[in-house]
């Protein structure tokens, strides 16, 4: 996934860490030709990638499903200005979740994204992941849409508590 996104021209990789994104984050940190941008809150990433688009660059925002809640009003920037936006969301409060704190936002993630005009594509099996990422890239940079790819806990595995 990392190599594919870099080949698509992604140069800004922004994130608040989640275990599901560990490999992507580590790859971005090891990549001298890309900007690995740790954020304090996910909504910064929505604005950051809008700025990247103004300057003709591409980026991706990696976040946990709880971070989707932090982005709601900032997505009015994306929708109103028709900025392309690619988010990859690792789900919590989903299949097999053992932490009750994760359920309210996990249940609301897809509805919140769709309410703010973001197209949601979901992956629950390993063989779905790359076709979904390829589809998302063409929707984002071909058509200018905002797309979130949700990586479900059936795929990522539930954290043990």
């Amino acid at each position: 996934m990392y190599d594919y996104l870099r080949a698509e021209g992604v140069t800004q990789i922004a994130y608040v860490p989640d275990a599901g994104h560990k490999v992507m984050i580590d790859r971005s940190l090891a990549d001298a030709d890309a900007h690995s941008i740790p954020l304090t809150t996910e909504e910064e990433g929505v604005a950051l990638l809008a700025g990247a688009d103004l300057g003709g660059a591409k980026g991706v925002l990696l976040m946990q499903s709880s971070g989707v809640g932090n982005c709601i009003n900032m997505l009015s920037l994306t929708a109103g200005s028709r900025f392309p936006l690619l988010c990859i969301v690792s789900m919590r409060g989903d299949f097999g979740e053992g932490n009750p704190w994760q359920f309210p936002m996990g249940r609301a993630t897809q509805a919140v994204l769709e309410a703010m005009g973001v197209v949601v594509l979901r992956c629950d099996a390993p063989e779905d992941v790359m076709p979904t990422i390829r589809a998302a890239c063409s929707m984002v940079w071909g058509s200018g849409e905002a797309v979130a790819v949700l990586l479900g806990q059936r795929l990522l595995g539930a954290k043990k508590f």
């Binding site: 140069t11 941008i37 910064e44 700025g51 688009d53 900032m74 920037l77 109103g80 200005s81």
Partner: protein, 203 residues
């Protein structure tokens, strides 16, 4: 009317500058920059100063977006000078962005906060900075190496020098309450995006 209490023990000079004079005195040639301006006062004045120029993305909402957008733009365009200009209210809403910016530290990015101590747009309610919160000390605490505060016209020359020099910097421009310069501007953000990209990228 009940009043919010000032934070005890903070002594700052009273703000005396009028933003309608101070902002153009600091940013003499706005057309030379790629500009992201925060909602309310700073978007109004940068759009007014450039006659709604295509090099200015003036926000009309998404409060808190300005500094982060300027960072994304600066990283995307390392050979252009990028100005992120914002109000104290907008900066406070996403104050952590200063840390994100300090870490990335693009040499072509300058941040200016026009600090009127108030939420001017919504009826001039006191903001935290009007009650003693010091954004220049916060910026320095986040690790931004060059921080300069402008209280009077005498501080302006150093501000202009910093804007002209390479390197990330944060300038706190303290102004009194009062209106920003204003002219009609497009509030349709997709139009503003498209014309910004067309002027910069030709697409």
């Amino acid at each position: 009317m009940a009043q919010l209490k000032r934070i005890a023990g903070v002594n700052q000079p009273a703000a005396t500058l009028d933003r309608r004079e101070a902002v153009p005195a600091l940013i003499e040639r706005p057309q030379d920059w790629l500009v992201v301006a925060g909602l309310a006062g700073t978007a109004q004045e940068l759009c007014a100063m450039t006659d709604d120029g295509p090099n200015v993305f003036g926000l009309g909402g998404a409060m808190g977006a300005g500094p982060s957008m300027a960072l994304g733009l600066a990283l995307a365009q390392p050979n252009r000078r990028v100005l992120g200009i914002t109000g104290d209210g907008e900066l406070l809403m996403n104050i952590g962005a200063l840390g994100t910016i300090a870490l990335a530290a693009p040499a072509n990015l300058k941040l200016v906060c026009v600090d009127n101590g108030h939420y001017g747009e919504t009826g001039n309610q006191d903001s935290q900075t009007g009650l003693g919160v010091q954004l220049d000390r916060i910026a320095a605490g986040f690790g931004i190496a060059v921080v300069h505060t402008i209280n009077t016209m005498a501080d302006m020359a150093e501000g202009r020098r910093i804007l002209a020099a390479p390197g990330l910097a944060f300038i706190l421009l303290r102004v009194k309450e009062g209106p920003a310069m204003k002219k009609p501007r497009s509030l349709r953000p997709h139009v503003v995006r498209d014309r910004f990209r067309a002027a910069l990228l030709g697409r």
